[in-house]
Amino acid sequence: MRARIGPWIAIIVGMIYFLVPLIATFEFSLRMKRGEYSFEAYRIVLGDPNFQASFTYSALIAVAAIIFGVLLVVPTAYVVQLKLPRLRPLVEFITLLPLVIPAIVLVFGYLRMYNSSSWIPLTNSVRGTDFLLTCAYVTLALPYMYRAVDTGLRAIDVRTLTEAAQSLGSSWPRILFQVILPNVRVAVLSGAFLTFAIVIGEFTMASLLNRPAFGPYLQLIGANRAYEPAALAIIAFIITWACMGLIQLFGGGRQNAARR
Amino acid sequence: MAFLTLESLTKTFGNQTTIHGIDLAVERGEFISFLGPSGCGKTTTLRMIAGFETPTSGTIKIDGKDVTDLRPNQRNIGMVFQAYALFPNMTVADNIAFGLKVAKKSSAEITKRVKEMLELIKLPDVGARYPYQLSGGQQQRVALARALAIQPKILLLDEPLSALDAKIRISLREEIRAVQRALGITTIYVTHDQEEALSMSDRICVMNDGRIEQLGTPFEIYNYPTTRFVASFVGTLNILNGQVLDSTSGRLGIDDQEIFTARELGGASTGDTLSLALRPEALSIGHANGGSNNLNGTIDEVHFLGSVVRIRVRFGSNIVSLDTFNRPHSAPPERGQPVTVNFTREDILVLDRPAI
């Protein structure tokens, strides 16, 4: 059967809708110098110390969130799979909660619970707030991270691997780090890149927690400059593309969707 | 006049020809099996009959009418698929009624017909259930009922039992055949299980590599295969290489021993190597059997299979297997023991020349 005309029209219209904003943004980002196309906007943006600082900050928080998230999720998914399958519905429900409770509501709750007059005054110190932001990002990424790891664990035969390792006399930290983690590396990596893509430009939580992250920086530039935001949008698109490309590369496949 | 005819049917996918000009005439009410190894083109042929694939060339006629260019929904054919193709969103009754509803039959007629069909497949009480509430075997029976409800001219089945376990397969194939006989519907049954084909069919069409190798009754196919492929695909067959010593008297050399065939070896000349087929059940040990051919060899292997003992005998470069009944009072022969294998001239099937 040959392709009919309808699907082609759908695909072409879809492509136009998705490519035009990218082309327009790129074209706009080149117009900084009057009368000629130049990469001036990129030069300014990339040379801006605030750009470098905020990007580094967000990247660090993202990496922290990824490590924390993996350490939190892998043992849980492992134990649920192997020892306590009764807990599965509860754990899955919890991991879906971040999709149910909007990010802005969560951070509102954090600000109330961890403010200076509470039992755990995290927002009192810079380190404490960074920790809070990291935890907030772990929460945001929880549904995706958990699903990736859980799928990865299902694909390997956890029980056999564990029993084999135990019969060879491995202790549980060794089972976790030397047997289970390497086998779900692909899943963990795709969860990690997805987390990075979600977190790197996150605005709401960083802004409300008053941290100098990349998202609030973007917003600030957007409010005050003309051409630099377009350049930043292109950079952000490339970062997202790189994360998704890496997921594909590692065979992650069909992960999706972040919170906004 | 045959009921269903395929005339030099050819199918090419891209630049690869999968079906190389098939000719076939199926009589009204006949049950024909397509038997062949995976990828030989059974499904493709069936799908062309159904109308899901357009033949590259050739014609398909049903009841004298050329249907080659008709769409599937205009052909009035019933089809049962390999995997469970029941509509999951409908109850069993609705599944069976689907074709009738589409044909705008009255609801009284539909109810009556659905009831009939459920009784035909011996599942009168499952009408209200959904497919996922049925076992695999029950689902295939419902699929059969659904295909038959529209009173099709032809019934096509594509390996309908291959996803089921062995016990159900046997009982269900008997049931399918019984239903087919009762309705007298012209049926094509695709399978790669030779036992299924042998036990169910009026005729078997053995396919290989997009061609029909042999068409015949199960008796003919099993006992008189015409090609080496058919002989080796149908049944466990012993194949010996024999040197033609004298083609008129049918004298053949098996390594350094001699045997005779019942007929002349027309077309073969002295020194040619021929493939000979011998069925395990045609062979016996010792001279007592009365056959005029004897081969001396040694026992290579003995498999005790319960009521039957399968013995492998080696003559030089050739090996044959034969079956003897288990006799509780005499021990089976042992490995290494010299034996004589006896068979009649008629038991030798001369196949095509072996590929060098």
Binding site: P7, V91, I94, P102, M113, R260 | A50, N89
Partner: protein, 294 residues
């Protein structure tokens, strides 16, 4: 062999810490960063400043600004979810069943993965550069058709503008969700219906659509919740000028613009209810459709 049996024994008591390690930190984390913060707001919504029970906060939601904000949020979310679901479904359909060249599908899926995650502030920038007052498309339309769309009432900083912008991540998200569902439509169903005499339209009406509708409706709800909780794009696009519920809550958290912290809690409670209901319905519908499409 003997060694093995000896080795198993001491590893037995160590199995317990693993179970402990797997469950306890996770539960503590969930309590601290999901359940208690949400609970705090929910309880706060039913409390007076001095801690006694009241329904007054909920009643106070009934004021024009708040009602309008909820309305606009729901309208934008519903419109972008509907458009996203419809167009995303069509594209997923074209990709899976359109007999298009092979390379289209993986390209489309990768691109959807990127676009569904390309949101927030940069997305706003991209649409400003496209459909803003000096955007490329705006300029193109002006020069080709001689129409300045802004003079005809179009505004990116509005219901229509935000909906178009949100579609940029809603459509790809729908494609990602629906492609597996359409894949789940077995070829045999289509062929069985055809051989039983049904037309393509009858197949869609009686089989494919009934099978897909739980996923379709469920995806719509997921997209709705997705847009409803979004803020960054809208905020970067419009500053605080657009009165949608997330921006109102943002302003309330920043500076207590409602002059009543507990009213803020009630606002959050309303949001949790709306996203909770639509997500809950999504999960329920998905479990229904999974029963069929196996």
């Amino acid at each position: 062999m003997a060694q093995t049996t000896v080795e198993i024994a001491p590893s037995k008591p160590r199995a317990l810490p693993l179970t402990w390690l797997g469950v306890v930190p996770f539960m503590i984390f969930a309590l601290m960063f999901l359940i208690l913060p949400a609970g705090y707001l929910i309880i706060g919504a039913f409390q007076t400043p001095d801690g006694s029970f009241t329904l007054q906060n909920i009643a106070n939601l009934n004021q024009p600004t708040i009602i309008k904000a909820y309305r606009l949020s729901i309208a934008i979310s519903a419109a972008s979810a509907f458009g996203g679901a419809l167009l995303g479904f069509l594209l997923a359909y074209a990709v899976v069943l359109g007999n298009l060249p092979r390379w289209i599908r993986p390209t489309m899926m990768t691109f959807s993965g990127v676009a569904s995650n390309f949101a927030g502030v940069p997305l706003a920038f991209a649409f400003l550069a496209t459909l803003g007052r000096s955007g490329l498309v705006t300029a193109l339309i002006t020069s080709i058709f001689g129409i300045n769309i802004y003079r005809y009432g179009f505004n990116l900083l509005s219901f229509a503008g935000l909906t178009i912008t949100y579609l940029y991540f809603q459509i790809p998200l729908m494609i990602l969700i629906m492609t597996p569902a359409i894949d789940g439509l077995k070829r045999e169903w289509r062929e069985a219906s055809a051989i039983l005499g049904a037309s393509t339209w009858q197949y869609w009406r009686m089989i494919a659509f009934p099978i897909l509708w739980p996923s379709l409706l469920g995806s719509f709800l997921l997209l709705f919740a997705n847009a409803f909780g979004a803020i960054a794009t809208a905020y970067a696009l419009t500053g605080s000028s657009l009165n949608i519920i997330t921006i109102l809550l943002f302003a309330q958290i920043r500076g207590d613009v409602l002059h009543d912290p507990h009213l803020g809690y009630a606002l959050a409670l309303g949001m949790i209810l709306i996203t909770g209901l639509s997500n809950g319905a999504y999960i329920w519908l998905r479990s229904r459709s999974e029963r069929w499409v196996r």
